[in-house]
Symmetry: C2
Subunit: 375 residues, 2 copies
């Protein structure tokens, strides 16, 4: 096991106060290759009880860090602030909550942007081929490093929902209850097309340099453009019609500058994202989502689902989600139901598409309150 | 009036056998600026009758040339081959059909890629700001140059449908009957977001050089990527699910090469497009679609529609079209109906999204046959 200092990432950093665990290797990845060791950043909320049986593990989507909610060490609001805390849906007076920065990401966990201890240089494209199962496995290793042998609930949305499914399939004994939100047993061809195009946009930026960009000099413009495409796929046409309509911004004399509010919104959001997310990490995580297919676990989606032993499952989807469409949520729920598992399926009419779990607090708060109250 | 030879485009060419008309200027554009003269490429099918009252004008979408169907001079199939010809929906034994390459495009008509006769250099970004109304006006000028004073039918899909609407609003006396397919009275914020991103992708290609690329050395990669995004918006998730599923291609050793059939399809299609479409022309035409809003004609969409005097209108839309969604077709039809106009609204369940008019021959053939038989 290496000292954590030697594992310091090339550019990315963990959120202030995040804990890091260093796991000795060799740590083998699903599609080949191994890591000599790995560091994973995580944060926790609430207290582990004496029986060590009040644990909720949260897997994140593609882009967030472990900072799902404010902590004493880092009081800034997290990406799921309305969900985690005293009196909130995942009530930290009762639950011990763990959120892990995904393997392959860039906020304190080992990924393409971190140093390969064998060479002292960043992995970049020498990082092994990453799969969703590896992300699930790494998150589970973090929990086990805390001497926890079973999760009361594993929960995730988007990529996090895929990771939660992967954990429940590969480590069925670990999962007492499962919540998937806007997830899927595999990516649709449309979702693959969108993500493949995002990756090609990033790789087409000359600053990408086949992944060998210098720290702080990556393909910022490619990342901006890819993020804009991401935002288009994360939200819904219905929401933007109401939110932006055809409102214009101040006219600019420059040709082809943004003219409409919707363009200015994309600009502002994408600029922020491109400054802090590592491009190679994005490529690896994005491709992992395309590849994920639980049919690899037994030959069919049904066979994959049959490995899940969760006592109770909640499957949530959103009517306006075009990236992980509602019928994919129904497939998970109906698949489990046909296997005789206890499963609840909730279709939300939120306008915010794939991103609804982040912003539609009015619908998600009571839904998650109810689930966790009975967990 | 200048000899047509002096108007030869910098890179683009008209289809073989296309006719070109040169209009003396100054020709003023809607949003300011003027052209000293303009050339417009067009093709015709069938014979103009003695009364000169059997004329059908076709406006194209963003990317096609005037080559809507095979001609004696150019027997290669056109982009609407199944629609135009003897015994076809627009039966050329009866109709005299004219299709114009849009003003601002690059297949023989004046646009950013053609030479400014005042300087002898290509216009590029010195081309005046282009609007859909200018495209409609230029097409109408072609028809008038043939001593035709009234159209029996004007028809267009996508941008062509916007152009047909613009003509019917600005030259109501010119239009006896109107057909709009997958059109809109204005662009939605989602459509604006997609097109704005396409334009930014093109402009981010270093080979764009602020529009001053050398002939044949334009932003090919930017155009490839923009076209892929276009294709994603033109087709539907439902179609791709059936057509591609998760079929894979031969594995490639190169990192991030296409893995799925859907990626290979986008690659093949986009490569072809990027080789023959001029980037600056694309930017101008794309922006014109964002700007179009018939509310500019009288203060509201209803006021704009009220200018239309067509004796009969057919409005067609497709359930799976996310770029020009079906409710936008319904708005056109209901708006005309409320004004007491004779209008027929057809919602097709085609799987091919915005592109259905190009490929769903089984649904469009009888629909258009019926309309033109009674025209």
């Amino acid at each position: 096991m290496l000292p954590a200092d030697e594992m310091t990432d090339a550019t990315p950093t963990a959120p202030p106060g995040a804990q890091r665990v260093v796991l000795a290797g060799p740590w083998r990845l699903r599609r080949g290759g191994e890591l000599p060791s790995l560091t994973l950043a995580y944060e926790t909320w609430g207290e582990l009880n004496a029986a060590r049986d009040n644990v909720v593990l949260i897997y994140t989507g593609l882009s967030p860090s472990s900072h799902a909610a404010a902590t004493a060490a880092h009081p800034e609001a997290g990406w799921w602030e309305y969900v985690i805390g005293p009196g909130k849906p995942i009530d930290t007076r009762r639950w011990f909550v763990v959120c892990v920065n995904s393997l392959g990401s860039c906020f304190g966990s080992t990924g393409p942007a971190s140093l390969d201890p064998r060479s002292g240089r960043p992995y970049r494209l020498r990082f092994p081929y990453l799969s969703v199962e590896d992300i699930a496995h790494a998150g589970w290793d973090v929990v086990r490093s805390l001497d926890i042998e079973r999760l009361r609930v594993v929960i995730g949305a988007s990529l996090g929902g895929m990771s939660a499914l992967a954990l429940a399939i590969e480590y069925p004994e670990a999962v007492d209850q499962l919540v998937t939100i806007s997830a899927a047993t595999h990516a649709t061809p449309s979702a693959i097309a969108l993500r493949s195009l995002q990756r090609e946009i990033i790789r087409s930026d000359p600053a990408w340099r086949d992944g060998d960009y210098a720290s702080g000099a990556g393909p910022v413009q490619g990342m901006r453009l890819a993020r804009k495409l991401g935002l288009i796929s994360y939200r819904s046409a219905e929401e933007w019609l109401i939110r932006f309509g055809r409102e214009r911004v101040e006219p600019s004399p420059a040709a082809f500058d943004p003219q409409f509010q919707v363009e200015a919104y994309l600009d502002a959001n994408a600029g922020k994202f491109a400054q802090h997310f590592d491009a190679n990490c994005y490529l690896y995580l994005s491709r992992a989502m395309d590849d994920f297919d639980i049919a690899e676990h037994g030959g069919s989606a049904g066979a994959g689902l049959s490995r899940i032993q969760a006592r109770r499952t909640l499957v949530v989807g959103v009517e306006t989600d075009s990236l992980f469409p509602l019928y994919q949520q129904r497939e998970i729920a109906e698949g489990l139901d046909e296997l005789g598992r206890e499963v609840e399926f909730v279709a939300l009419p939120s306008l915010q598409g794939h991103d609804a779990f982040l912003v539609d607090t009015a619908r998600y708060t009571p839904l998650l309150c109810d689930f966790f109250a009975r967990a």
